[in-house]
Point group: D2
Chain length 365, copies 4
Amino acid sequence: MKRVLVATGGGDCPGLNAVIRAIVYRASIEKDWEVLGSIQSFDGILKDETEVKVLDKDAVRGIHYRGGTIIGTTTKGGPFAWPVKKEDGSYEFEDRSDYMMDKLKELGVEAVISIGGDGSQRISQKLYEKGMNIIGVPKTIDNDLKATDFTFGFQTAVEVATDAVDKLNTTAASHNRILILEVMGRDAGWIALNSALAGGAEVCIIPEIPYDINKVVERIRRRYDKDGRGFANIVIAEGAKPLGGSALAEEYGEIGNENLKLSGAADRLARELKAAGITADIRTTVLGHIQRGGIPCAFDRNLATSFGVKAFEMVLEKQYGQMVAYRNFEVISVPLEEAIGSQKLVEPDSQMIHTAKGVGIAFGD
Amino acid sequence: MKRVLVATGGGDCPGLNAVIRAIVYRASIEKDWEVLGSIQSFDGILKDETEVKVLDKDAVRGIHYRGGTIIGTTTKGGPFAWPVKKEDGSYEFEDRSDYMMDKLKELGVEAVISIGGDGSQRISQKLYEKGMNIIGVPKTIDNDLKATDFTFGFQTAVEVATDAVDKLNTTAASHNRILILEVMGRDAGWIALNSALAGGAEVCIIPEIPYDINKVVERIRRRYDKDGRGFANIVIAEGAKPLGGSALAEEYGEIGNENLKLSGAADRLARELKAAGITADIRTTVLGHIQRGGIPCAFDRNLATSFGVKAFEMVLEKQYGQMVAYRNFEVISVPLEEAIGSQKLVEPDSQMIHTAKGVGIAFGD
Amino acid sequence: MKRVLVATGGGDCPGLNAVIRAIVYRASIEKDWEVLGSIQSFDGILKDETEVKVLDKDAVRGIHYRGGTIIGTTTKGGPFAWPVKKEDGSYEFEDRSDYMMDKLKELGVEAVISIGGDGSQRISQKLYEKGMNIIGVPKTIDNDLKATDFTFGFQTAVEVATDAVDKLNTTAASHNRILILEVMGRDAGWIALNSALAGGAEVCIIPEIPYDINKVVERIRRRYDKDGRGFANIVIAEGAKPLGGSALAEEYGEIGNENLKLSGAADRLARELKAAGITADIRTTVLGHIQRGGIPCAFDRNLATSFGVKAFEMVLEKQYGQMVAYRNFEVISVPLEEAIGSQKLVEPDSQMIHTAKGVGIAFGD
Amino acid sequence: MKRVLVATGGGDCPGLNAVIRAIVYRASIEKDWEVLGSIQSFDGILKDETEVKVLDKDAVRGIHYRGGTIIGTTTKGGPFAWPVKKEDGSYEFEDRSDYMMDKLKELGVEAVISIGGDGSQRISQKLYEKGMNIIGVPKTIDNDLKATDFTFGFQTAVEVATDAVDKLNTTAASHNRILILEVMGRDAGWIALNSALAGGAEVCIIPEIPYDINKVVERIRRRYDKDGRGFANIVIAEGAKPLGGSALAEEYGEIGNENLKLSGAADRLARELKAAGITADIRTTVLGHIQRGGIPCAFDRNLATSFGVKAFEMVLEKQYGQMVAYRNFEVISVPLEEAIGSQKLVEPDSQMIHTAKGVGIAFGD
């Protein structure tokens, strides 16, 4: 029996379970393969007491439909920076990659499939360089990987964010209010742009186009008549930055440090609008983790399933050091080395921005 | 042609449009009635330049399906406190109720239907005492009116909040995190209780049961094993208060004063949990106005439609000074005087709390 | 360890899993109880090889969110009519209730909770009369039980049907078409009435009001102008009957005999409209099992959870021969004997029909 | 003031309104353009009494969110086959294209944007050949146009169909049933394939792969154990054909002739399975027009909006005789002549079929 080990790393993302299920279903067609899941990303292998789970068809039946990941994930640590508690209570990080290689040999693991974002794939590449038979599956709701046209989870996040814009539209119109919705996306404006366009927002603020608050104010004013009648929906990406300023994440190291969420981009914009003399009521909503959860849309389930099938077939073909990617409607493989670190951002002069401006959306530029 | 004037006051609420449509459709069966909508609550009548809209069947076709209110609403002012700008730029509030009575006479309005919350119905009662032919239709997503078993909008808010809990569940489980969801409800815990129960939350914090942070901590600890494995979803009402403390709204006058949202109940709880030594990751989501928007669920559309038909029939029967109410599955009328100011809160020893504790939900008591 | 056995019988229904979970969670609070699930209704006990499953908290975690029933169900057989294959290949039905009683004793089962519809509860009563410690939990998406104000699953079915009406509305309007939607409900029109009202249908046909095709034709004609412009949405219950005619289920024994779906009430109505000279395009949709499936709405989850908690507490109090019921917003218990066979139908002169007619819905009477 | 006329033709499709809105919003940026809508496809121009509607921003605000088309559509007639009633009551079809050209001149229409399927675009090409300044926008939920990678409406239909598969899954599993879902797609299996893959169906029957009923039976049998335990979800396209047989639409001219829906592909398959000795319960659902209706998903709204902006810009650039298309994530223009009649079908040896087989879906081949 040959064994392939699967791990999911980084923030959770709708479609992870569909990838896992596809790997297991595809593997079950071959007679001599077994799939193991490492619990809580590579922690299941790295910790002293190994924690893996045999994944057969019964274990994964129906999970394509569920958000999250049945084998757990984590955003911390990993084989090259495993936290070890020192006597004084502080942590130091040690390289546990050799331990991991040994453990995998012991378990009879032939190949590893690592499903994760850019950070995870950097680790994949380093493990590959150490000699591990590893294959990457990209994962990010932010859709900011140059190597692949789409990542699963992104479309679901866009649908959830668009639903929020739809819901806020009726409130804004009924109350003559300004409603600001903050969505995820890290340094990229994909979720903001897509949901602003789909929801018919008035203003869309993305990291790739630093906003001039005066331009935003001017646009808002045009939406209100002399009686203060009018309304506006604004979608802002968490990584938004004012002209000459920086994203809050850069200022604070990370929004949500000490595991708590600080006021973010939406709140800053609201304060700036008030400071600039906007008198209309403003309400902000930070959509948060709702964007990462729930049932993946059909598009994402199918993309994720294609990725899973392809990943296992790459194992069969020993295409190690490669990553699954979606290009021009085909699932292909690309070298991990090329894939990592190549961020795909919204280009300010792209067709999509042109379209959005064509239906009157302002970007604060 | 006899005329009935309709106004919607206070925060928007799914189902308002269904009430308006039902009034118009029902009135169209009578040959000699016309429905007017006052724009932006009573402002359409109170301001110098009257702003009303004739509402016929074409104007309201299909609106039962849409959130918000097609005639607008406001949370400020009203006939007894109409803001007038003074020379120094500040405002004083004047009684414009006589002006309103005159204007209605001028417009040939026989009766007024005022759709609104407790504040609006207090105004209805005062107008009734002044001699206005007025009928109230209760409206609140908070479901906190003793006079009626249900108000429209509440069930929709519960469904939206439950969907959020569902979405957060998968993230919490995948990451071993604590996710705190803050929902609306003012002084009442109905939305929190219903969505926590439906979503299967671990902890539910409502204003009616002040929480002992130690009890919450204890419960959370029980959910995690020695490896830090486990997760918990917490639903907290915006009006939640710690034992011996007060709701943030009381502290700050109103959350969201100066039209900006301050950190709320969810953030306070997160800080308290951290302070008490909880090491698990915590993420907070404030659902905000998403709860008020969007498509009303079938239950709310039907309740709202029943209210609208009844309200117009009360006009036909000249049952002025009364409010529509839903009791024991019948739509009836009750005196406005009795209805106002009688808040319906969650009773800590009620069957629903008993049910929630029966499936293991902790309330911090 | 005391044991309680749970079974789900009859057609599946959103909320079944929430009842099961609530029983298990509530039982886990007591130290000395264990819950068993009988697989595929009572078949798990009745067949030669016993098939039961221990249901602990891990087995039911998160299932309140899922449609169907994790312990399976069946619409055939039961302890008093167990099918036994004869030598000639045909079946005879034998009374296996004594065998069942023995088997339960053997398994150490103290009490049985039977979740099911009217048919299942008749069996419960007969088993109770034989001496079984049995408690009933009502289940039907049709909401046609007089003993309880609401049954879980009904509101979900209404929401699904209303969503279908919403979707058909835009097509009907764009094409000047008549769209007929057939919904479930057996002899009762509750689902049809509620979804027609919520969706703003033009015509609603329910079993309780036999329809005069001429009245329906007349109403349809009024919706179209001289240019053939107009549209109409019709919601029809599967049990609908023309004046002087009968429901198709009565004609054919059962719609769907030989396990296949025949043309139903919607198709009959379409043919009648065509025969009466309606020239507009007509399209029919039979919603079918989509109404029974999927995620229960929050309302149903909470009702189902209340039923489950109550049912287990009735076991603790040995209230055997009783059924859980929801009356006037409280979950109570009623004698099975009274509950069975008392059908709750839509009353043609009820307030809800009055409301529907008030917003212009025609019933063909 | 220059005028552009917009018409929507053929079956309705989620996203039509988003195209219309985008054209109007984009046109409003130019100072000297006005948009007219022809009511009920080109009928508004072709009939004796012209019926067009000025579409300004107020007329289209918020419609991107709504299904259907605010200017109506029709599946009959057109400029080259305008039905004229003869004295004996029958119809003959006349060429009204010259009348149409004259009328457009009279109205001062510079250019026409025709949003419609393959049939509509054939008409566009013929009108272009007659000298009309016309631009096409492709529309089909079936996604079967070779000229464009995606058409709006398709993804929404897939999401609706997938939701149906999800709902049927729980019923199938609870009852050990076979549930057959019939979806749209004409001669193409795109909706069936995508929803079967996303929903995790057992069997998927598409027109491109004629099915061998014995293969289907064999697969179904494998899903059931000796006790008759098991279940299966089958998704079948309306255009499905058995090996050596033909699609029902070919047999009957058109399914739904005489404006009534006959039993379709799902019913045929159910009968074939029964005839082949399958004893499990079978239930069929024909999803019908629900797939065409309702709120377009974000993906479709954005695609449709891009199409609308592009179409108007093609008017500005006088790119007549061209059609908007989406290729490799860019919206481009292609000659109508090339675009029409080039059907895109599922290729049996494509990667997507390979993926579906990789997760165990059977196609009856």
